[in-house]
Assembly symmetry: D2
Homo-oligomer: 469 residues x 4
């Protein structure tokens, strides 16, 4: 059926009678995306070569030729001069073949006591370790930007919403710190994921380990991994670290999407709570007046692709028998795109926040509507001895009356208020003020300006401490 | 905060006081992926320009300049000489700006009575219409390849499995036709999706339609759309067609993943039901003897990314208010990748099937184990008047005995069989043969070779009919 | 290891030496959810028994006993008096065992020439066929409710949004009809799904068909299926119809979530575009003034579970070899819950719409802000010969000036407007009115009140026609 | 429109003019599933009441009445005698209303200084904390069962697979320990999730905290939470802990699905690597000989529902503005079902493993095929100075020859082997033995029996240590 010349270009061609079909070559090649791992692949190969020399599998001369050759290749790649070839399938074979081109015989010895299976697992972990560090730094940077805003707006009153209905007055700073809390959890989750990523699979070879007397501790230390994988079958097939990262990234992106939803709402004509600097908005090709919060919309939208990638990773691994299967090649593109999306989204939001202007006047006006202090009135009654459930009902009726008259609670005359509960006294109007309501919520987690400032200090100290060490 | 020069490069810059932040420009640009729509964008613009001339918004001279200019741009793009610029955001603005560079004034008139919102929706539908046609043709090609195999192996007996346990003998041709049935449903679903894709949104402008007296029928006919969108708000925000395509593609990829799961099983050392030509397998970097069914594994794995894209599309649209939001820009990459993955997977499997060798001897041997004809024995008893439930139990006991002795049902002496049911007579051994079992299942949907041949004829006629018309 | 009494209660116990582990029995049982299929299971069994009598496998007396017995069981189930037992695994075995208890010997003959594999596939299709009809009727009912609103609010002006920024004036009726368009596509998709669901798998038996000379056409006609499945292996393992339904339901729920997002926005204090009747809102346990749009929030939230079910269905089938595997039992709960969620959500929204009050005054006021008619001004300039791109820029500058002054475009004196373009004449103020803007968009798909009324008539006729036939 | 009697039954009815629509009541009620939280709800309420007494909001008498009343209600619920009512919406209001029925006035005071928003967040965290402990114990139990098997089968040779093709010999114990490694990571992830779950939101009230001088430390200590939430807006809207649990559960279920895939393969007629006790298998309604690995299939299938639930949770939260929205009610059913699925799956697999018989003879026979020691031959050549890449190619050619002749590598005469590489000597046949191959892989992570035993000891010690403390 297929009459081709014997394929001598493949490093595994010995046992094959026919060349790889061209369509198959294209379909199975991964070098166009896994070349991104080149830096880590070379780092791993250098460590591997040095270890092989230590245990006597390579001579010192061979080792030096390999190390030097790999460094030259790294330079070629960085300079964009490396001759990538899809026929050589992946980043590993491209580099190995090039090494042999450059240094001859010793290049053919590099793959002793390892397989692409443990090699790519090592590359991925080295890559992700760095990416997690970058993501954690990116989260911290956004947190810092938010903490600035929180401090500046610690006293700014705004309507807090539940069900998007006016609920109670809160401070803008408190609202902003809610996002900081979410982001802190994200940083924490990423740190846990990093710990589980930071395990070295190298030495597992194809699936069973190797018959050479390798020294895995040597390689581990060279690559800065705190731990060794304990089972070769697991080590070459495990992609938990990548899935866990996508899960942590999905939650992070959901947080960002929630923040962006509010930025979009707040910048709408109906809210006008904030304005975003022109430099962070774009216009319309047809409507000359438009100024759109595109950045926020795109970040909200990009949460979708990350959730999609998480789904893909789980579907990918579901039901796979041990050990390595080629399906796993499909882990890279979603992981890479997740990393890029997270880092880009964090960066652009961090840059945008200083360009967000807070319309304090509008916020205050908004907070005055919607009977935001009705709960304060109920709590006032409780302090006068009314059971909460009865107080709630009485205030509910007062609200109904105020709404009927089209006025606020504070606009109802005392006698009308007293009709709902005779315990109400002239001092009641003080609890109905926005400042009174805010100041009263002065406990851990509460919205009082003093609490906001305390949290700002705490977070700033925490972020600085981490940045230093 | 941000002090930049006024941005004159943006087509919507009039109302803006500050230039777009560079990070934002990079973050929001889509030209690096939506340039793929260029061909359709130009097709739509030519139809639009012609319509504008018909209703008097453009002069004939302006129209001709535009059409000629766009054609020149199409040639530039095809030749890889077009000066793409991310600062111009997307494919639409890149082309419009280039048009004005080339033809001056008339280029600035092209965007009359339209917006990027209806423009991109039109481009996407033109693109997807073609992609669906290609996908349907790809499915048909794979079906044809399978129909060939089914005919060739219409008599080949193999063990049919449920729960991956030997169940009953089936013909290999029947098994292959099961996949053809799945693929036929995929083609059908794609046709339905195409019908809903084939609706023209152009004329909806930004969201409300336009105040120019446009002739949407004119454009519709020029672009070959059978129908017009009926509501401008819906038309610019609707991405149902893309989601529906991803859903149909997901089901298709699940079918392919199921086929590939079996190819992988069948080519394993334990099954040896088939062998796949060397040209469609690859080897190992460490294990010299390996020949792996990589194509099948990759297709199985690629089902994951398509399911991930479907998830992403649904998440993207969930909860979006009308009309267009920038989130929607995120629809393109998953859609494009879904199209590519589907087409590639179909193509490579279609190419591979002629290289699949069926090991008839192994299949027959396998069908003889596992008591595959136990059901035939039960049915034999039913024909002798035993209620099915009792027959089932009696045969179950006979199986237990045979298993204990390590023999097949057909190897049990008549007296032993009669111990379970005295109605058994010497002729029983005929129903226990594989051929007897197969031939007996001769009804619509049954596995008998005659039925397989009938279905092969039916499918071949159907596929030929469609290919012609 | 496990020393138990032989299990005689299982219909497949003949070949087994040990009783089923109690934990396994609980883990594998499905009768607590698949009993929902009982009605369809009995319907299918009656048709099967009648067919068996026709082809001579059952006597007429046996057939009558079975049919009568099954009817009695149906009555028992409806009366809540059926003795369901998890030890009998599923709905099928519960009913068969009960039948034999009631009518003896003939009950043991019912399962001749079929398997639970084709039986459950038939039950599922009968169930889903009904469910799709209910869903289509539910969608039509919601459409009808919306068409009423669209007619009533055909002239009501409101700000149309893109990016949630004021874009152009639209009519409320036009906005409501955008949802109707979405829902029409949903109905269409459901109809296509129904067509593919409406295929009879009965007769496929376990996986290979049966050796009895069954008459599948007889059963098909009795059960009202227009078509027969053509391949027994496919027929027992195919769950495409269920996945496709979940996909169609996901898109539908995304549409509902989008509608609900807007209802929630519109009912917020900041928008006040609508008010929802108290009967469709709920309150807060702590804040006495709260009135929350819970129904809309829950529907928006419920889109998540349906998308989750779709994901689950695809994951379930991915990579399964032919034919039936027990994994498939997991198809029922997500499908049932999807059906319930869709029907409930449609019903409650349909009931709610008449209780939605539209605040026309607020809407008009809102439409006057945000420079909603800037595009009309640009189009005015185009009609005076200015290329659109230049007109866009000039109006953009005019908007910047108006914004600086804190006034609307229509408030700028003529000389100021003319500073941007000398072609502007006194008549310009007419195109800046909301009514002028609306009326001008009078083409298919446009927002003009006349168009809204035309679409209302078209949709009403279409819905009535379908309701009748 | 809606003319109903004023609804006095709702605890928030004060401000409402119309009763809740019956359909809405049914649609929004959650008591039929959130009653599962009753135990935790009461636990939280008791702690809350005690705290209120400490800070003087309740008298000691009121506190005692409440605590006693709640305990009586807990007993009612446990006894199945509690009068649940959907009209009271949820578990919280059902219990509060019942409390007031039982103890009068003080019952109406319990809800002081809290909201259902912080209450349900607390309940969920108390519930999940317990569930995570149960899941971790369940994982440990399965690990222990596997460690037993690993020890027993430390010397059992089997073919290790990559791409489901025979790769290299491994020990059965090593393979089993690969799963233990996966499960250890699951336990670790669950522990991290528990840490983030174990934070008390109570005191956040609706969204802003409360004006009462509450003592959150008092409640925290009573409920055994190590930490307090730091931001009230975040605390009532945060569902990260539930999403993270679903993510950890999804990875765990993917691990179980992978194990089950292999159990299913291994029990197939083609593999016969294992046999599963009758008590853990079920049969067929039609095929008397069938014995199906249903438990493994169902667990594999159930991975789908958990992944679906994770997707649902992420979709649910995506784009939600702060603070609490009713959408969040949809978090419970997927979380509960995830917990149940994980616990059930772990339990049934743990019970099943002792009933898995390993067919050592079949495994050894299988390991002898497929040229499993080809890599050992290549490594032999390397030790004789051949560069690995050349050794790989030479052995590849030897395999091709052996395959052509239909023999194993060890069956090729020395001269034939030497034709590929003259460095081969008679001793080569020793490295081609299975035992030689296994024993040689004696490094951390390798498959050598000694390593398996070392890992068994390590894991056993680790599990025992944890079980004790």
């Amino acid at each position: 059926l297929i009459e081709k010349q014997k394929d001598v270009s493949k490093p595994w061609g010995g046992r094959f009678a026919a060349a790889t079909d061209a369509e198959v070559e294209r379909f199975t090649a991964s070098e166009h995306f896994d070349r991104r791992l080149a830096r880590f692949d070379i780092q791993g190969s250098i460590a591997h070569a040095r270890m092989l020399a230590t245990v006597g599998v390579l001579s010192e001369g061979e080792r030096d030729a390999i190390v030097e050759g790999l460094r030259a290749i790294a330079a070629e790649i960085e300079a964009g001069e490396f001759p990538w070839s899809p026929a050589l399938e992946d980043v590993h074979m491209n580099i190995e073949r090039r090494l042999t081109e450059r240094i001859g015989e010793p290049g053919k010895k590099l793959h002793t006591a390892r397989s692409r299976n443990d090699q790519v697992a090592t590359d991925m972990r080295l890559f992700l370790r760095d990416a997690i560090d970058a993501a954690r730094a990116g989260v911290a940077a956004l947190e810092s930007a938010l903490v600035e805003v929180a401090e500046r707006e610690a006293d700014t009153v705004m309507p807090g919403f539940t069900h998007l209905q006016t609920a109670q007055p809160v401070t803008f700073g408190h609202h902003v710190l809610a996002w900081v809390e979410m982001l802190e959890r994200d940083r924490d989750r990423l740190a846990d994921c990093r710990r589980r990523t930071d395990v070295m699979p190298l030495g597992s070879a194809a699936l069973a380990g190797t018959s050479f007397a390798i020294d895995r501790e040597h390689t581990r230390e060279a690559l800065g991994f705190p731990a060794l994988s304990r089972n070769s079958l697991d080590a070459v097939s495990d992609r938990d670290f990548a899935i866990e990262f996508c899960a942590a990234a999905s939650i992070l992106m959901v947080h960002l999407s929630r923040m962006c939803e509010e930025l979009i709402l707040w910048m709408s004509e109906r809210f006008r709570f904030i304005d975003i600097d022109d430099a962070f908005c774009t216009g319309s090709s047809i409507m000359p007046q438009k100024k759109n919060p595109d950045v926020a919309e795109l970040v909200r939208g990009k949460s979708a692709r990350v959730i999609g990638h998480l789904t893909a990773m789980l579907v990918l691994m579901k039901g796979q028998p041990l050990a390595y299967n080629r399906d796993n090649q499909e882990d890279k593109e979603p992981l890479f795109d997740t990393v890029d999306t997270v880092l880009d989204s964090l960066r652009v939001l961090t840059a945008m926040w200083p360009g967000v202007r807070v319309n304090r006047k509008v916020l205050r006006e908004a907070a005055r509507g919607g009977f935001a202090t009705a709960t304060d009135l109920a709590e006032y009654l409780v302090r006068r001895g009314v059971p909460f459930r009865d107080a709630h009902e009485a205030v509910g009726r007062a609200v109904a009356l105020a709404q009927e008259r089209g006025v606020d609670l504070a606009d109802l005359p005392l006698e009308d208020l007293r009709a709902f509960c005779s315990l109400i006294e002239p001092g009641v109007y003080e609890v109905l003020t926005l400042e009174g309501s805010l100041a009263a919520r002065d406990h851990v987690g509460g919205t009082a300006p003093t609490r906001v400032r305390a949290e700002v200090s705490r977070m700033r100290a925490l972020l600085e401490r981490e940045a230093q060490g």
